[in-house]
């Protein structure tokens, strides 16, 4: 299934029965699919007159207690920001899909990740956050879309599924059986707060879906309540994926489809002996700070790869707290970084140590080759030994063989010696660096004490 269609079906399977949206590339398959499917499941698809109207229809439907979704792409999401802010203020659960395209302005229609700031910093006016889920595959898009509805209901908040043109357009095998007829999470409460047009009771008094708190004292209380909710989300809902970070000296941080491209680059670098690992944030907010900090044990450098001019890189730097250099590689405007570009960047970052490692690798390879050649010759010799043991040429041949293996052994010995010398050099360099570092740390500590 195409990513867009998979997301739409996943939403329906998660009980979403209301969809309001407006056409914009590259997410059109979502409203198209919804327009076909919603009537089949007794739901409602409505093409609104604008994105502004769509998000407000979402506000109405969500405020009335329904599972509701809208989708758009960057310029349309900008139009929705006002509504999103109101939805946050009034604590209305809903799911918003953004299939990001190149910007600013009308921009392009090609994939981008340049709405990172907008999504993770709130986007609209006011003091708020919003969970942002960034799928890295079509299968994950299905799971995250469904999770988004639970998250939204659990915390009474809008939740954004942040994809890009690639995720939306790509076709991958999807296991929809697992996603089929997904029930709301067991912990979810009945929406007694919703404006369902109900007779007020003690448990469910008259509902007011509202974001206006004219008294600043009351608004501050409301904002603090929201903040407490965001703290709870940060504590409980942060998600990420780690790959090969155990011994990683360079840690890539990338999300969404960029993480897939970075993954290919990571594998290529590993083949070259460069110890690269990756942290892929699945929730962009809350951001996996702890997971990134945990890699500081081995990580010497970080590389943030994005389809933007560098937005998430700020969060990586905040997570690393200045303890390691954080570099950036990105393409923007709808351009997609290639595996080759990222490998080149990583090789550059690996720099000096990787060259040494490559020498060691070459030496090891030469040794392996020598051993294999010797083995092969032995094997060939062994199979013929019975037939030829009495052959007059036998003696001559064994002499030749002795000579050949002798040469190989000499070569191998040379290689080992070179390797050992190099290792010695590295060792002393490392020792030097280490003592520098210890000296430097001491100074830092002194400064700190001085400040206090």
């Amino acid at each position: 299934m195409k990513g867009n269609e998979a997301i739409a079906e996943a939403a329906i399977q998660a009980g979403c029965r209301f969809f309001f949206g407006y056409p914009i590339t590259p997410q059109n398959q979502i409203p198209e699919y919804m327009s076909k499917r919603m009537p089949q499941v007794g739901g409602c698809f409505l093409q609104s007159e604008s994105e502004v109207a769509a998000i407000n229809m979402v506000y109405g439907a969500g405020g009335a207690g329904a599972r509701v979704m809208t989708s758009s792409s960057s310029p349309g999401i900008s139009l929705k920001q006002e509504g999103i802010s109101y939805i946050v203020g009034a604590e209305v659960p809903c799911v918003i899909v953004n299939m990001v395209r190149g910007g600013p302005g009308l921009g392009s229609i090609q994939p981008a990740q340049s709405d990172y700031y907008q999504s993770t910093r709130g986007g609209g006016h006011g003091d708020y956050r919003m969970p942002v889920l960034a799928p890295g595959s079509v299968q994950e898009a299905v799971t995250l879309t469904q999770d988004a509805f639970d998250l939204a209901d659990r915390y009474r908040t809008p939740v954004m599924v942040l994809g890009d043109g690639l995720i939306g357009q790509m076709m991958e095998p999807v296991d929809m059986e697992q996603a089929s007829n997904r029930q709301p999470a067991a912990d979810l409460q009945e929406k007694t707060w919703a404006a369902t047009g109900h007779k007020p009771t003690q448990e469910a008094p008259r509902a007011i879906i509202n974001s206006l708190y004219i008294d600043p004292v009351v608004l501050e209380q409301h904002c603090m309540k929201l903040q407490a909710k965001y703290d709870a989300i940060e504590a409980a809902e942060c998600r990420w994926q780690e790959e090969m970070v155990d011994d990683a000296e360079i840690v890539i941080v990338a999300y969404g489809t960029t993480a897939r491209i970075a993954r290919s680059a990571m594998r290529k670098c590993r083949e070259k002996g460069i110890k690269v690992g990756m942290i892929r944030p699945i929730t962009l907010w809350p951001f996996p700070n702890a997971a990134i900090r945990a890699t500081l044990k081995t990580a010497k450098k970080f590389l943030c790869v994005e389809m933007s001019t560098g937005q998430m890189v700020d969060d990586v730097r905040l997570a690393v707290e200045g303890q390691r250099p954080v570099e950036f590689y990105g393409r923007t405007g709808g351009m997609v970084p290639t595996v080759g570009e990222i490998v080149e960047k990583l090789e550059g970052m690996a720099g000096e140590p990787s060259a040494v490692e490559q020498l060691i690798n070459q030496t090891t390879a030469a040794l392996d080759q020598a051993a294999t050649a010797a083995q092969e010759t032995f094997a060939g010799f062994g199979s013929k030994i019975d037939a030829k043991v009495n052959d007059p040429a036998f003696i001559e041949k064994t002499e030749a063989f002795k000579q050949k293996t002798g040469e190989l052994a000499d070569k191998a010995f040379d290689g080992l010696a070179k390797g050992a010398t190099l290792l010695g050099e590295i060792g002393s360099k490392a020792f030097g660096a280490l003592s520098d570092l210890i000296g430097g740390n001491k100074n830092q500590n002194n400064n700190k004490e001085g400040n206090e």
């Binding site: 209301f18 309001f20 409602c44 409505l46 609104s48 007159e49 604008s50 502004v52 109207a53 769509a54 407000n56 229809m57 979402v58 506000y59 109405g60 439907a61 969500g62 405020g63 009335a64 207690g65 329904a66 509701v68 006002e82 509504g83 109101y86 009034a90 404006a195 369902t196 047009g197 109900h198 007779k199 007020p200 008259r206 509902a207 007011i208 879906i209 509202n210 974001s211 206006l212």
Partner: protein, 250 residues
């Protein structure tokens, strides 16, 4: 002691914040009474605008939503689609409905959205301090048309009822006024008809209520009501602009 007047249960006990002489209070009461009389009030869902009626959710004693500026018809659309059997209404002023929310109202109307819109037209932005509204009359002085509305410069007032009645979606559109008792009675009948047709699923219904704004018009309440009669009504003629049930009744 005989009860000669009883406030409708569909209004809360919260005192109105409206200025003296403002007709919002009357219009609120008419809507609330109609909701009660039709027996649809307790389960109604109202949508409040941005403008003077921004606190309408504090006054109407039913489920209420506060919409972003101009978006009430879209919000109501969402609510109505989820609860097609409930009475859903918006209560909007002229800036909210005819300016920033022009798109939302036109499209809710043309979709035949089964909601009732109470459109309060007082030809001015009240809450923000008397600026020119889309319905401000030619020559009318406001804080942003201090020399009077110059149609050459900023165009003509929007006639919402006339405009929307050209669409196929609306079932019922009437313009009423509340400047005197006979008109108040007519206004209530119109609101009742609108909600009745909504509940019958006939289509989009709207009642435009010509209102007064003594504070921002710079008039006494009495002068303001006279100005409604002398200036507003000629520009905004009262009457039924659309009624798909017409014929048999009249």
């Amino acid at each position: 002691m005989a009860v000669v007047f009883k406030k409708t249960n569909m209004l809360t006990d919260k005192p109105f914040h409206y200025c003296p002489g403002c007709t919002h209070g009357i219009i609120h009461r008419l809507v609330a009474e109609v909701l009660e009389e039709l027996g649809i009030g307790e389960t109604a869902i109202g949508v409040a605008p941005v403008g003077c009626a921004v606190f309408a959710y504090d006054y109407f004693n039913c489920d209420m939503m506060e919409a972003a500026h101009g978006r009430a018809p879209a919000v109501a659309t969402g609510a109505k689609r989820v609860h097609p059997d409930k009475a859903v209404f918006t209560y909007q002023g002229d800036g909210d409905l005819a300016s920033i929310g022009a798109a939302e109202i036109v499209h809710a109307a043309t979709r035949g959205e089964k909601i009732t819109v109470i459109f309060v037209n007082n030809a001015i932005y009240g809450m923000t301090g008397g600026q020119m509204a889309p319905t401000t009359l030619p020559g009318q002085v406001t804080t942003t048309s201090p020399y009077g509305r110059d149609t050459n410069h900023c165009g003509f007032p929007v006639h919402v009822s006339e405009m929307l009645s050209t669409l196929n979606g609306p079932a019922y559109i009437e313009r009423v006024s509340v400047h005197d008792v006979p008109n108040i009675k007519k206004a209530k009948a119109a609101i009742k008809k609108a909600f009745t047709l909504q509940m019958e699923g006939k289509g989009f219904t709207m009642v435009e209520v010509i209102s007064s704004c003594p504070t921002n018009w710079g008039k006494t309440p009495k002068e303001a009501l006279e100005w409604v009669k002398s200036d507003m009504l000629p520009a905004y003629p009262l009457g039924v602009y659309k009624d798909i049930t017409a014929g048999g009744d009249e």
